[in-house]
């Protein structure tokens, strides 16, 4: 049984891999369709292996449910999953992301006016970013209560530092020549900011924004572990583990991963539009 499981899984892997290798090295490999298809086949391969292994090795459903079971749960629990999503992602993560992002951006612009402040903020920002969320989340829940406000605060703090550090670094990423050009025009601070430094900083800012999307989601969910109303993805995950409803846990994880990847994708897409000129975006 165990051997059948392992050999079968390897077989599934081999098939998926074979198809992908053919596709990736085939003549159509740079078409949009194939570029989407390959990662999907990869994902499907992993899911099939998972399903196969769980069934063949008879893994208990309270330890690791099969993808098909999780899928069923996803179908059944639509309204509840949506309510959780709304509470955690829309109220908690998005609010925190926006507030943290704006605050970081504002502080970065302020700090950037002085070399002194920048020098001080970057290392201290690095230090603050290293505060682990499992330590800070309970503190914010204590301060702001169980509802989404505390989640937004946790998210805000988590996304603040990566965006700050990237923006500050980006605003400094102009070449001497680009700055001197502005000086020969006798351009003051604001024209230089809007016409040179901000556009030049965009690739960095988006780097920060992308990192921050995944942090925002994780932050909002994890903070619910330390106190929440009776709705939310983190609430559902932690209580469902207690009820051994692992299929529900995984349903929420799937939603989290989809939401996180979509947000990331959205940011990457906007990045492509805004920083089309950057060498990394050109073909």
């Amino acid at each position: 049984m165990i051997w059948a499981g392992i050999i079968g899984a390897l077989g599934i892997w081999a098939v998926g891999w074979f198809i992908n290798t053919r596709l990736a090295n085939g003549p159509q490999s740079s078409t949009r369709f194939v570029q989407l298809l390959v990662p999907i086949i990869f994902g499907v391969t992993l899911l099939l292996m998972w399903e196969w292994l769980v069934r063949m090795l008879e893994v208990s459903a309270v330890i690791l449910p099969a993808p098909s079971v999780i899928g069923e749960r996803l179908m059944q629990e639509g309204p509840r999953l949506w309510a959780d999503f709304e509470q955690t992602v829309i109220k908690g993560a998005a609010t925190g992301y926006i507030i943290g992002g704006i605050a970081a951006f504002g502080v970065a612009i302020l700090a950037d006016r002085s070399e002194f402040l920048t020098r001080g903020i970057l290392p201290v920002g690095g230090f603050m970013a290293a505060l682990p969320i499992v330590g800070t989340a309970p503190i914010f829940v204590k301060w702001l209560g169980s509802d989404w406000e505390s989640k937004a605060a946790v998210v805000g703090v988590m996304v603040f530092f990566p965006i700050l550090v990237n923006t500050v670094a980006g605003l400094r990423d102009t070449t001497v020549m680009q700055r001197d050009l502005m000086r020969t025009y006798g351009a003051g601070y604001w024209p230089t900011l809007f016409k040179l430094r901000l556009p030049a900083a965009m690739p960095f800012i988006f780097n920060g924004l992308k990192i921050a999307t995944t942090l925002a989601l994780i932050g909002a969910i994890v903070a619910e572990f330390f106190g929440s109303p009776t709705v939310g993805m983190g609430f559902r995950i932690s209580t469902s583990v207690g009820q051994l409803a692992l299929d529900m846990v995984w349903a929420e994880i799937v939603i989290a991963a989809i939401a996180g990847s979509s947000l990331y994708g959205l940011m990457a897409w906007i990045e492509g539009r805004v920083t089309f000129w950057h060498p990394s975006q050109r073909k």
């Binding site: 290798t21 990736a24 990662p39 990331y264």
Partner: protein, 306 residues
């Protein structure tokens, strides 16, 4: 070195803000306590006081300000309280004592380092795969991103149980979680780094008819070193966070994570805050160590000027 004064200034500003925040944050608890101790507080019932903000209450009871700094269970401890707690648990305890933060630091650090080693190796291998194999390049990256959007605290207990069911316990499960968080920045950085050689540098090797492995060792790998260090610095602090997260579902026995949890559960905020700061200091030290290594290595490699 030029940064010392600015950093101190920023720290000073933060401390000042912190100290100022302590007063309104702790005012309600302080007023409740003062009333129990028989002092006159205005307004005179806890319920009525709920109507006021911490700030408003401070204005009505300026005499209580000093008391906000010495609460036993403050909402926001004052900096000196945290400092004293850290002094007591770092300096005044034998480092082998379980009351010593150094001891707990070591517990967390060992998982961090093991996890970091695993995560970094995995990250580098994946990056090499992505750079040298087109199919991997196209399939792995979106899933690597998706993997990082999964809330680790949800996954951690399952990893622990699954590893526990095949008889693996102790340091290793923590290290796996820590590796899970640290592999991603390494993959991203190393892919960038291994792809950083320009067409000319690659063509040069083609004119020598160098083999792919020579191309890796003599060009791609050295060219990726600056990127590697940048990722290592992100990866090591991610590892530390991973190890701390993993300490909650492993039975919260020891380590910074366990201290944070227990401090929170038993109403000892100072224990939590001290562990939090100790963790951040550890992270800063690790990052600093890698910065130093980076500088030394890059200088030896001639990749930084002077």
């Amino acid at each position: 070195m030029k940064s010392i004064l600015p950093v101190l200034t920023i720290i000073g500003a933060i401390l000042l803000l912190w100290v100022l925040a302590v007063i309104p944050m702790n005012m309600h608890l302080t007023a409740d306590q003062a009333q129990r101790d028989g002092l006159v507080v205005s307004p005179d019932t806890p319920n009525a006081r709920q109507e006021y903000s911490g700030f408003g209450l401070t204005l009505r009871n300026p005499a209580l300000i000093t008391a906000t700094f010495v609460q036993e269970r403050p909402r926001l401890p004052s900096p000196h309280q945290v400092a004293v707690e850290m002094w007591n648990t770092i300096v005044l305890q034998k480092i082998s004592s379980k009351r010593s933060l150094v001891y707990h630091g070591w517990v967390t650090l060992s998982a961090t380092l093991l996890g970091f080693g695993i995560g970094t190796s995995l990250g580098i291998l994946l990056a090499v795969g992505i750079v040298y194999n087109r199919a991997m390049d196209m399939s792995v990256m979106p899933w690597a991103i998706a993997s990082q959007t999964i809330p680790i605290l949800a996954l951690a207990p399952m990893i622990i149980v699954m590893l526990g069911s095949i008889g693996i316990q102790g340091l290793f499960p923590k290290a796996i979680i820590s590796a899970y968080l640290s592999f991603f920045p390494v993959v991203v950085g190393m892919v960038k780094g291994l792809r950083s050689p320009d067409g000319m540098q690659l063509d040069l090797l083609r004119t020598y008819h160098a083999s792919p492995s020579q191309g890796f060792w003599k060009l791609r790998l050295p060219a990726s070193v600056p990127y590697l260090f940048a990722s290592l610095k992100i990866g090591i602090s991610a590892s530390l966070v991973g190890a701390i997260v993993a300490e909650l579902p492993t039975g919260a026995r020891a380590g910074f994570g366990a201290r944070m949890l227990v401090g929170d559960q038993y109403g000892q905020p100072l224990v939590t805050w001290a562990a939090l700061f100790a963790a951040a200091i550890t992270a800063a030290a690790l990052v600093g160590l890698f910065s130093l290594l980076e500088r030394l290595t890059l200088r030896r490699m001639g990749m930084v000027q002077a």
